[in-house]
């Protein structure tokens, strides 16, 4: 027994609700994910590919005579982001699969929804956590790469005709993060087991990519790349950073397909959360 008399005392400092109600949801989701050492290790490993383009920049800066042998232009950033897309996928495979599934499994979602947190706050919080995980391996290293490129080779990268490069890096990183995050969330909300959610997430993205490759090669369907979010991301990436090549579909269509995919996924997540709210 405690040495004092435990009595119920009232709390008289109720504050009005603030607009950033999703923030505690996102913060705690991220904290729980980052408590896993494997995720920290994966995060560190995800930055290793940065060494290759940085090495290229260094070599070209120190030994200009080798410049013709190495591709050091906007494509450097585009290629780097393509690689980071798959590492972002891995991050979410292990860190994003349980974001909603674990709440469904343990009844935790009722804890959120019976409080002053709306369905939108909950979904935004989980999305923000997934975005933060993905951006940590896309936007953060690619922004660093851009800064290093400008620092090493200002004559090549600090030009008016390349002023779009920094916004392009940010936009492509955000697009990759958004598509991967909503895919992870939609798989996470459809099952109570994080492992199954992870497998479904991987199968969804890689399966669609495989399907579009098969359709493109066997049926010669021009629109087939729009079926796969990863393929659409590649089309948008090539349109932004090069190389300029004849794409089967215009990058605008790819962008629209990605936005449609993200909207549909978010609608499914909100609907699923709503059904839990009513049935739980």
């Amino acid at each position: 027994m405690p040495i004092y008399d435990a009595v119920y005392r009232r709390y008289q400092a109720r504050a009005p609700l603030h607009a950033w109600r999703f923030w505690p949801v996102a913060r705690e989701a991220l904290r729980q994910v980052l408590l896993r050492r494997m995720l920290i290790l994966l995060l560190v490993l995800s930055w290793l590919p940065l060494l290759y383009p940085v090495g290229q920049l260094f070599i070209v800066a120190r030994m200009p005579q080798l410049a013709p042998l190495l591709t050091v232009d906007a494509r450097l950033l585009g290629d780097f982001l393509s690689v980071q897309t798959y590492l972002g996928l891995l991050m979410l495979l292990f860190g994003g699969a349980g974001l909603i599934a674990n709440d469904l499994n343990s009844g935790g979602m009722l804890l959120y929804l019976s409080r002053a947190v709306s369905r939108r706050d909950y979904v935004m919080g989980k999305l923000a956590a997934a975005l933060a995980l993905t951006l940590s391996v896309t936007l953060a290293p690619s922004a660093l790469l851009y800064v290093l490129a400008v620092a090493f080779l200002p004559a090549r990268f600090l030009r008016w005709d390349l002023v779009w490069l920094a916004p392009a890096v940010s936009a492509q990183s955000l697009l990759i993060a958004l598509v991967l995050s909503v895919s992870a969330l939609v798989c996470s909300c459809l099952t109570r087991r994080a492992a199954i959610s992870g497998i479904a997430f991987f199968a969804l993205l890689m399966g669609l990519d495989l399907a579009q490759a098969l359709l493109s090669s066997s049926l010669r369907l021009d629109a087939a790349p729009l079926l796969s979010p990863l393929s659409s991301l590649r089309i948008v990436g090539r349109a932004l950073f090069g190389p300029a090549s004849a794409e089967p579909v215009h990058w605008i269509w790819a962008l629209l397909a990605l936005l449609l995919f993200a909207s549909a996924a978010l609608a499914i997540v909100r609907r699923r959360v709503r059904s839990v709210e009513v049935v739980a």
């Binding site: 119920y8 609700l17 109600r21 505690p24 935790g108 002053a116």
Partner: protein, 315 residues
């Protein structure tokens, strides 16, 4: 804060449907400050009423108001003032009890610092000592119930909704939980709705009860009035055939149930045992035993749900 004068929650002509199925049908009533027991068999509409109150479900018709707020228009404002203890498991994987309770406070709009200090205060109140630093998934059922109560209390709600709070507890744990709940319910300005199948729990805590059945309110009122006064119910034993007396009682508007060694007769308003004696004299029945029956909540509950069918069967 709470309007101490009026009821915390009112619902008027409230109907809620799940598709074509009617879960609540023109239900009216109120939750005054104090402890209210919400009773009813499975599927009676108790959970639907609580969910409508919290803004999860929109009424098909009628209106509901909590703290003078409309849960349909302002669900978050209502939920900020409600503490909900759900029946099932409700925990976050990987959280310690202290973290989880503080987080629950933060989700209810408390600043983080306040939520942490208040979490420890309510964990002290529910007597969860050093265990608060352990992960909740390692807790026993009783400890999980205490954590759920602490989460319901952390933001100091004006209304507590407790759904089967003693579920799965051993007798000692149940008694301790009831003491905690009684303590909270005794605080002025705090409302408490206890939804439970354990009538003893409700009887020991609540001063009002609302009985729902098939989406309708079949009984509501202060517990003291429903279980008394003793003049309303009498245990009666009759020598020989009692059919004529029972038929006459029914004709006079009285209800009755058959017990192991006699009958329990329920008189209507303004009736009393004098009626019983008069009818017995008129039909020649010999009364061997007439004693005021002290009705328990269980009697009230069963009468509300079953008396009509019992009478129908018996006659």
């Amino acid at each position: 804060m709470t309007n101490a004068a009026g009821p915390l929650v009112t619902f008027h002509d409230l109907s809620v449907n799940y598709g074509d199925a009617k879960a609540l049908s023109s239900v009216s009533g109120s939750f005054p400050a104090g402890a209210i027991g919400l009773l009813g068999p499975n599927g009676a509409g108790k959970t639907t009423l609580l969910k409508t109150l919290m803004g999860f479900l929109a009424p098909h018709s009628g209106r509901v108001s909590a703290f003078e707020l409309d849960p349909v228009v302002n669900p978050l404002g209502v939920r900020q003032r409600i503490g909900y203890l759900p029946e099932g498991d409700c925990q976050l994987m990987g959280f310690t009890a202290a973290e989880q309770v503080a987080f629950a406070g933060e989700l209810s709009g408390m600043p983080r610092g306040d939520a942490i200090s208040r979490a420890h205060e309510v964990l002290d109140y529910v007597a969860l000592g050093e265990a608060r630093y352990r992960r909740v998934e390692t807790f026993s059922t009783g400890m999980k119930q205490r954590v759920k109560l602490a989460m319901a209390l952390v933001h100091d709600p004006d209304l507590l909704l407790l759904d089967e709070p003693t579920n799965g507890l051993d007798p000692k744990g149940r008694d301790e939980m009831l003491v905690l709940i009684r303590n909270v319910a005794a605080r002025p300005g705090v409302g408490l709705v206890l939804s439970s199948h354990l009538l003893h729990d409700v009887e020991s805590i609540c001063d009002h009860v609302i009985v729902l059945n098939q989406g309708h309110v079949v009984l509501a009122g202060p517990l003291g009035e429903l279980t008394g006064p003793p003049r309303r119910a009498f245990d009666v034993r009759v020598k020989g055939d009692a059919t004529a007396l029972l038929t006459d009682l029914k004709d006079e508007g009285c209800a009755w149930t058959q017990g192991e060694d006699g009958y329990r007769v329920f008189f209507a308003e303004a009736q009393g045992p004098e009626l019983l004696f008069r009818l017995a004299r008129d039909c020649g029945a010999q009364l061997r035993h007439v004693r005021p029956a002290l009705e328990t909540l269980e009697d009230v509950f069963l009468r509300a749900l079953c008396v009509t069918s019992e009478v129908g069967k018996a006659t």
